[in-house]
């Protein structure tokens, strides 16, 4: 199988879907001549021209609104919001329009849009450029929130999302773009709402998504050295949320830990913890634990930024304590 970066996998998905279906087009800031701020759309302008690779002004309401309106007429727009930090100035269009239109017009309209955007911190981008905000959208009925962690999923899920008929926030991650992995050629589709078990194990379930899956896998390696067998689940999407897979695992391991980059309080992990205890209470030998980013706007200094991000050692130590092998 070809090895691609996460970035290339996304690019391939876009190219294939645009070739397959003329109604698919991309829009967003700097996605044309510039190739995309994270170069995900590189080369597409030459191939598809400026109407299908529409580079827009710095108008996030305009971008998401354009996509939504066009989708209502039958097109399938893929909008890029340069980073999730800028989604706030455009989110009214996503939450008040795209997510509500199908329902509030009684099924008379559909909004098949994908809004792609990278989330996450790293590289000292500071308070206004390092946020993890997808949980806000996962809260909204009518939306899907999808967040691949591997190049293969990046391609397979993006293709699925483009073909889906619902409004979708597709969350990438600034630190995953250069990750490499095997990616099936051509038609490769990953269904929505199905979590992936990235590593099987018996002693503790580590639930994660996006970049933190890598941290969870590293932790599982470290735990294995201690004789602790960790099962790592990659949620792949926050909505739909595949609790079946999570619960089956927890019923087996009796220990659950959630790892994500976003802030702790009212973060995505809260919902997963709440559901695990609701639905697998009698299987739990220990409270569900959460390892998350520190609750601060991300600071610039390297010393502080490092301290604010979820640490591998927290995951490892937490799991050890939980299963009583500390």
């Amino acid at each position: 199988m070809p090895v691609l970066t996460y970035r290339q996998a996304l690019n391939e998905a876009l190219r294939e879907e645009m070739n397959r279906d003329e109604s698919v087009f991309c829009l967003g800031e700097e996605i044309g001549r510039f190739g995309g701020s994270y170069r995900v759309t590189e080369g597409l302008l030459d191939e598809f021209g400026p109407e299908r690779i529409l580079a827009t002004p710095i108008s996030e309401l305009g971008i998401i609104g354009l996509a939504t309106g066009a989708a209502m007429t039958g097109l399938r727009p893929v909008a890029e919001i340069m980073t999730i930090n800028f989604i706030m100035v455009g989110m009214d269009q996503l939450v008040n329009n795209a997510a509500k239109i199908p329902y509030m017009f009684g099924g008379e309209a559909q909004v098949p849009i994908v809004v792609r955007t990278p989330s996450g911190a790293g590289h000292q981008l500071t308070a206004q450029h390092s946020q993890v905000l997808e949980v806000w959208f996962a809260y909204v009925p009518g939306m899907y929130v999808v967040a691949p962690s591997t190049p293969a999923d990046a391609k397979g899920l993006l293709k699925t999302c483009i073909r889906d008929n619902n409004p979708i926030l597709f969350v990438e991650n600034v630190l995953l773009y250069n990750d490499k992995g095997e990616v099936p050629d051509g038609e490769h589709i990953v269904p929505l709402g199905k979590a992936a078990i990235r590593r099987e194990g018996d002693d503790v379930t580590i639930v994660s998504y996006s970049r933190m899956v890598n941290v969870a896998l590293q932790a599982a390696d470290a735990l294995a050295d201690d004789g602790i067998s960790a099962e790592v689940i990659d949620l792949r999407s926050l909505r739909p949320l595949d609790m079946d897979t999570v619960l089956a695992s927890v019923r087996k391991t009796n220990h659950a830990m959630i790892v994500h980059e976003g802030w702790r309080k009212y973060g995505a992990g809260a919902e997963i913890a709440a559901q695990i205890q609701e639905l697998a209470f009698d299987y739990l030998d220990h409270p569900v634990q959460r390892v998350t980013g520190a609750e601060v706007p991300l600071p610039y200094a390297q010393s502080l930024e490092a301290a604010a991000l979820p640490q591998l050692e927290f995951v490892v130590d937490g799991a050890r304590t939980m299963v009583g092998k500390r």
Partner: protein
């Protein structure tokens, strides 16, 4: 800052009153007249039904704005699009939706145009390319941009009419949408229904420069102001705009009008004087159109009476239909939330 000369432009009496030339057929003119009457009577009935608790929620009516509505919507062709806002009962009627299905929606019934999910602010009619009424001020304008872009993308000859309010022009969404419409040369006509108020706020309190049509220039649109109490003036302005739109030149029309009633049924509109309201009622668009038609020998008193009787019957029938239509069954609460969702949503 408002200059004096401009401020007086906001008074109805300074508007053009030239004799109107008609190229329309009698039938067309009478259809227009009938629609204006229908909108008026429909809204009277809406008000009544609200006070009788058949209608709930926010309910914004079109009394006084009939000329802006009929003048801008009648020139549209079947394949043209409309994107509107929450004050849209008349808009969807003028587009040809059945009054009874509109009334059923106001009643929150299954046969409503949005199957009872939308109510007064969220009317929709896919068949007539009426792309809905929206409740976030100016939030629908980026959608009109999207519909217009779709037309260009699909290389069709379609025009999008975006109706919007004066108050909404202070919102960032209007800015982003209008700029992008101009930038991409989209076939979109934006008509500001300038009824001089956004709730209790006057245009002068909301826009540093209250000549809203002048913004056209900054957005690459043709900008024009029109007497919104004169249906023929609005129609001619719209026709011009449609011609330009087909050439990729969007237009921003500011139609000066007035809402006779409060912002919504619940608003007693204490922020304006009875004299001000009366000065606009004296320019009533229906009476004015009637005079124009009468002067031109295009309508008779009998025809008017007949139209009014027909409209009344239609509105009564709409209410009957709405009363009869069932409330949506609570078991359908989750219907329409997602299209073909996976099992675990």
């Amino acid at each position: 800052m408002v200059k004096e000369a401009e401020r007086t432009f906001l008074q109805p009496q300074t508007m053009s009153n030239e004799p109107t030339e008609f190229y329309e057929s009698d039938e067309e003119l009478l259809r227009m007249f009938a629609m204006m009457v229908l909108i008026r009577r429909f809204e009277d009935k809406t008000y009544e039904m609200y006070t009788r608790a058949r209608i709930g929620g926010y309910c914004h009516m079109n009394h006084g704005e009939e000329a802006t509505i009929v003048g801008s919507i009648f020139p549209l062709r079947d394949h043209d699009w409309i994107v509107s806002f929450y004050r849209e009962h008349g808009h969807i009627l003028a587009r040809g939706a059945e009054p009874r299905r509109v009334m059923a929606e106001l009643f929150g019934r299954q046969d409503g145009v949005s199957h009872g999910r939308g109510g007064s602010m969220h009317l929709f009619d896919a068949n007539r390319r009426f792309m809905g009424g929206y409740g976030i001020v100016a939030g629908h304008m980026p959608l009109a941009l999207g519909v217009g872009y779709s037309t260009k993308y699909r290389k069709q000859d379609e025009i999008t009419l975006c109706l919007t309010g004066d108050g909404g022009m202070a919102n960032g969404a209007s800015h982003e949408a209008l700029n992008m419409i101009g930038l991409y040369h989209l076939p979109v006509v934006t008509l500001i229904v300038n009824n001089l108020y956004g709730m209790g706020t006057t245009v002068e309190e909301s826009a540093a420069n209250p000549n809203l049509w002048e913004r056209g220039e900054m957005y690459g649109h043709h900008g024009v102001r029109v007497d919104g109490m004169d249906v023929m003036a609005v129609k001619r302005t719209m026709e011009d705009a449609m011609r330009r739109a087909s050439d990729g030149q969007p237009t921003l029309i500011e139609a000066m009008t007035y809402r006779y009633r409060g912002h919504s049924v619940a608003d007693a509109a204490r922020y304006r004087t009875a004299e001000e309201v009366q000065s606009w009622r004296d320019q009533d668009p229906i009476e004015r159109f009637y005079r124009q038609l009468l002067d031109a020998g295009r309508i008779t008193e009998e025809q008017r009476a007949q139209i009014e009787a027909q409209v009344d019957a239609q509105v009564d029938e709409a209410v009957e239909f709405a009363e009869q239509s069932p409330q949506p069954d609570p078991s359908g609460l989750l219907d329409f939330l997602y299209v073909d969702p996976p099992p675990n949503v």
